[in-house]
């Protein structure tokens, strides 16, 4: 089980879907959902030097409406500006190859395709999670 998860997604309805799916699959007991990339960046900036405060895993939407930057830029900021140390990846309905390549460059470890049936992908991710924590798993797209 993952100790704590942060979800960054502008779609509030998806927060509910994700929370319920995580609870049903016993993925985590501590999940926080926010709607803005700016808010997430500020949180990580505040958590610099406080590793215990950071979530263990971060799921970021690709296009976060109402934010100053997209999910890939948020991942880049978290990885390269605010210090690495979390398992981080994209959760998006897009499967654009170019975007996936950009996410890899930004340091994303996984890409989960958001769809009606997300539970099997989350379950697979849960099984692979230890590998991401230990940085031994290669980048993977969960389709």
């Amino acid at each position: 089980m993952i100790n704590s998860i942060l979800l960054v997604d502008d779609e509030n309805l998806f927060h509910l879907v994700f929370e319920d799916a995580c609870s049903l699959l016993d993925i985590t007991l501590n999940l926080e959902s926010i709607s803005s990339a700016d808010q997430a960046a500020n949180m990580f900036r505040d958590w610099q030097g406080k590793p215990k405060m950071k979530p263990d895993c971060v799921f970021v939407d690709l296009n976060i409406i109402g934010s100053s930057f997209d999910g890939i830029e948020l991942i880049r900021k978290i990885n390269f500006e605010y210090g690495n140390g979390v398992v981080i990846g994209i959760i998006s309905s897009s499967e654009d190859k170019q975007e996936i390549d950009k996410a890899i460059e930004a340091g994303a470890q996984f890409w989960i395709v958001k769809s009606d049936d997300i539970e099997p992908r989350l379950e697979q991710f849960k099984e692979d999670y230890e590998g991401y924590c230990n940085r031994i798993n290669p980048f993977k797209v969960y389709v």
Partner: protein, 187 residues
């Protein structure tokens, strides 16, 4: 996390007496050796799962409806744009048709005026020629009416010339007035 036996029994009796139970993730971290409390936790987890599944289903339906609404809104926008475009095209076509009609009316008016002028000029020329011929015949035949015919010829010729200039002047005036109106309309 472990609770005391007393607390466990309190939770069980709270459920039996008032139907109130522990819910959510707290149930996943509770540990116990008591069989009744194990059942309590298990039932709580099952109920929680049921509720979450139900909520997940409803949330998905809402998501689906939202998507449909969004699609319909996009279709509506598209249709509205098409209607606006069609209205603009119709307005343009109407304007073109009115311009064509105006042009045709002017054309037929000018044609009519042209015909009138042509006929009038022929009449003037005809009358002039006939009167001149009569005057010439009277002169050559030695008629006594040459004085009368000469005066009549000069009067008639003067009147005809005046009238013909008057007609031409009127036509030119009408033409310039029409041109001026149409150029102002174009502006």
């Amino acid at each position: 996390m472990r609770l005391t036996e007393e607390t466990e029994l309190s939770f069980i009796s709270l459920l039996e007496e008032r139907g109130i139970r522990l819910e959510g993730n707290i149930l996943k971290v509770l540990e116990t050796d008591s069989e009744p409390f194990k059942d309590y936790i298990q039932n709580g987890l099952s109920k929680d799962d049921e509720l979450r599944k139900k909520r997940l289903e409803i949330t998905r339906q809402v998501q689906e409806q939202n998507k449909e609404l969004q699609q319909k809104a996009e279709e509506n926008d598209k249709l509205m744009n098409e209607i606006k475009q069609a209205l603009a095209d119709a307005d343009q076509a109407k304007e073109d048709a009115l311009n064509d009609l105006d042009l045709m009316q002017k054309k037929s008016q000018f044609e009519l005026i042209g015909s009138i002028v042509q006929v009038a000029l022929w009449i003037i020329m005809g009358v002039g020629v006939i009167t001149t011929m009569l005057y010439a015949m009277a002169l050559f035949t030695g008629s006594v009416d040459t004085t009368l015919l000469g005066n009549t010829w000069s009067n008639l010729f003067g009147i005809l010339l005046t009238n013909s200039f008057s007609i031409i002047g009127t036509i030119m005036g009408v033409k310039y007035a029409t041109d001026d109106k149409s150029s102002k309309k174009d502006e």
